[in-house]
């Protein structure tokens, strides 16, 4: 059990001239440290960019299958969970009977989006993830409603790197690992729904 005590703060701090000098010395030391040692905390944007983590929630991207079509099957999980209601999807028929559905339209209004990452959490097909792209620039509102094609582009992904996505470590019950191993071994599949016959 932890111990908590109630303690009165000490008001007898004896302010005076010396503390002012101590403060000035503190600032001087900071100045020297910044100039000669650790550098400024600021970043010279846009030539330098502040680093983001591997889980950064930047602009979204749609993952693709080997044939270049989107993995997305327009299940609407992301559009349903989005707290900002910024995803618009229309679905159509795919001839492959094991896939059946795909998005004919998939649009995200990047200005409404709050970059919470729930769409990535909600996707059951690993079809949407977020990159580390955070340079959101546009001159009109319409420009910042991105469509399926833009979401499948890879130029920005190469520049910024992948960000928030499902983790391969998201495995809670060991009994399922054996099944995943088998999938990997016999079908060459890593997390994701297996191709159907």
């Amino acid at each position: 059990m932890g111990v908590t005590r109630v303690v009165s703060v000490d008001r007898n701090t004896r302010p005076g001239i010396i503390p002012i000098l101590i403060g000035l010395r503190t600032t001087l030391v900071n100045l020297l440290k910044t100039v000669f040692l650790r550098g400024a905390a600021t970043v010279q944007f846009p030539e330098q960019k502040r680093p983001t983590s591997g889980r950064y929630r930047g602009i979204h991207l749609l993952t693709v299958r080997e044939d270049g079509t989107p993995k997305c099957v327009a299940c609407y999980m992301c559009a349903t969970v989005c707290p900002a209601e910024c995803i618009y999807i229309e679905s159509g028929e795919r001839p492959e009977k094991t896939i059946e559905k795909y998005p004919t339209r998939f649009e995200i209004d990047l200005l409404r989006c709050v970059y919470c990452g729930f769409c990535v959490d909600a996707c059951p097909e690993e079809a949407i993830m977020m990159s580390r792209e955070n340079d959101l620039v546009g001159t009109t509102r319409e420009e910042l409603i991105i469509d399926r094609e833009r979401l499948m582009e890879r130029a920005k992904l190469a520049e910024y790197g992948p960000g928030y996505r499902p983790s391969e470590n998201d495995v809670r019950r060991p009994v399922r690992i054996a099944a995943l191993e088998r999938l990997k071994r016999e079908h060459g599949i890593v997390p994701g729904p297996p191709p159907r016959g």
């Binding site: 099957v73 327009a74 299940c75 609407y76 999980m77 349903t80 679905s91 159509g92 028929e93 009977k97 094991t98 896939i99 059946e100 559905k101 059951p124 097909e125 019950r173 009994v175 099944a179 088998r182 999938l183 079908h187 729904p193 297996p194 159907r196 016959g197």
Partner: protein, 528 residues
């Protein structure tokens, strides 16, 4: 009347009632797949197992009649375990199709898994039995992998339509549902197959991939397709109807509706909808405000007096008809509605299931409210002879018959309340935009003389107004008053004025309506 206790709640039920039905009466929903209130019992899914005191084995609630003194527990440990195990077996070969399956959101497996399953899977996906997918059967799509073999579709085909299209083929865990040679379903009730299927094995082709059902709001209404008046739900999102589906009413349509009725939602949001009033001038049509159009029509009506004739429409609600008649009565001109003789077809069956030949929802209401008065032919004769100076039409029926259009060629002023553009609107001089059935509160009286409520699911487009409102506004401009600010008020006036409708109001009509007395032969014809 046996008495029983279910989960501690005591109740008395009619003799012969099964446990599953009795439980519903006290708000207990026993999980099930194959049982359906309007289909014969099959008892094959084994999901509704419950513990009955003094019986050593669990019993299926759907086929166990309540006996006096019976004590049932639907959530005892044994029953809970049975539900979970049954669900687990049903899911053994079930494909991981939720993302592409339209049933999500109204799927018995999903719902019952959360309430009665919550087990971990023991099956690897590549071990599942593969069956036929995406089989086009016309109005419905079949996916045999998703089928839980409940046989509801088989029983529907056998008992309701008598067409016996479905049967199980193969054996063991290769059992599949199939039609002979994958032939499509060819009757008018295929949509119900998608409704009865508890999973995504049978799905509506029309609704395929259109929208996820949890985005839809539902509004209770009545189908306007024919005089049967099947109870329905309008499923809509953002003021647009997405589909219609049946609402259970044991007296009228049970759990079914016909496919032609289902397609009626498509007529609502089309670009041909009339959204504004217009008046014919020298050079062509002028769009004007509804108020201005009503002023013009009222001026003509006032000038004409008894030389104004009125043709109501059996497509209109009772409220519309009542207001229209009040207007006609205030001016003293002739009134009728029977263009095409709908009253002759009112109770004639089109098939052995639901549809009737009268394709109007409210012929009976028009008869009840006294709109069959002066005779269509008589009115047309007076139009041709020049006696009628103003003709007000509540619907476009008259304008669709070329011989009728000829008969009214010399009427100086014709005004019509219409919902859609069309060539028939060339003739009238003023067109008033009317709201459709899905956009208004009101009542229809069906062939059984059952008064049923319809409710507005979303507002009418543009300036379109309910027909009763247009008539009330004309009445006001002609010096009368309907003394009603809402459809509910109009109905109250109606109930006060029409003896057979006395004592009815929206609250008592509720969700399933109220039947008025039918005499003799008509009563025999009226049995659903």
């Amino acid at each position: 009347m046996p008495k029983c206790t279910i989960d501690g709640k005591e109740l008395e039920v009619a003799a012969g009632m099964t446990v599953i039905q009795a439980a519903l009466q006290v708000g207990i929903h026993i999980p099930h797949f194959c049982w359906h209130p309007d289909l014969p019992v099959d008892g094959n899914c084994r999901m509704c197992l419950v513990e009955v005191e003094k019986m050593p084995k669990l019993q299926i609630a759907c086929n166990t009649a309540v006996t006096d003194g019976m004590v049932v527990r639907t959530n005892s440990d044994k029953a809970v375990q049975a539900h979970r195990t049954t669900l687990e077996f049903l899911l053994v070969n079930h494909p991981i199709d939720c993302p592409v399956c339209d049933q999500a959101g109204e799927c018995y497996l999903q719902d019952q898994y959360m309430d009665h399953g919550l087990h971990d899977s023991k099956v690897e996906v590549e071990e599942k039995v593969r069956k036929r997918k995406v089989v086009d059967l016309g109005a419905i799509m079949l996916d045999a992998e998703r089928c839980v073999l409940c046989s509801r579709c088989i029983r529907f085909e056998r008992e309701v339509t008598g067409t016996n299209s479905f049967e199980f083929v193969n054996r063991g865990d290769n059992t599949q549902i199939a039609t002979f040679e994958n032939r499509p379903i060819e009757h008018d009730y295929a949509g119900n197959l998608a409704d009865v299927c508890p999973v995504g094995a049978l799905l509506s082709h029309d609704f395929r991939f259109k929208m996820r059902v949890w985005f839809l709001s539902e509004t209770e209404s009545v189908c306007p397709g024919c005089s049967t008046g099947c109870n329905i739900f309008i499923d809509h999102r953002d003021a647009e109807a997405q589909r219609l589906r049946p609402r259970r009413n044991v007296e009228v349509n049970r759990s079914w509706m016909c496919d032609p009725g289902r397609t009626l939602y498509k007529e609502i949001a089309v670009t041909e909808r009339l959204t504004g009033a217009r008046v014919k001038r020298e050079g062509g049509w002028d769009g004007i405000t509804v108020a201005a159009a009503l002023d013009e029509v009222a001026a003509k009506l006032r000038a004409a007096g008894p030389a104004a004739a009125f043709m109501a429409s059996p497509q209109a609600t009772n409220e519309d008809l009542f207001a229209f008649k009040a207007l006609a009565d205030s001016l003293g001109g002739p009134l009728d509605f029977r263009v095409g003789g709908p009253q002759r077809l009112l109770r004639e069956r089109l098939d052995q299931v639901l549809q009737r030949k009268d394709r109007n929802p409210n012929t009976q209401g028009a008869l009840d409210l006294g709109l069959a008065r002066d005779g269509v032919d008589a009115i047309l004769k007076r139009c041709a002879s020049g006696e009628v100076k103003v003709l007000l039409l509540q619907g476009v029926e008259l304008l669709r018959d070329p011989s009728h259009v000829d008969a009214i060629a010399d009427v100086p002023f014709v005004a019509v309340m219409a919902t859609h553009e069309g060539p028939e609107l060339d003739r009238p001089d003023v067109v008033l935009p009317a709201a459709m059935w899905a956009e208004v509160d009101g009542t229809f009286t069906n062939f059984q003389r059952r008064v049923q409520r319809i409710r507005a699911a979303f507002p009418a487009p543009g300036d379109a107004r309910p027909r009763w409102e247009l008539a009330a506004e004309l009445l006001r401009r002609c010096g009368g008053t309907l003394a009603a600010a809402s459809a509910r008020d109009v109905f109250a006036r109606l109930a006060a004025a029409v003896p057979d409708y006395a004592g009815l109001d929206y609250r008592t009509l509720g969700s399933t309506g109220r039947a008025l007395l039918l005499q003799g032969l008509a009563a025999a014809e009226a049995r659903a």
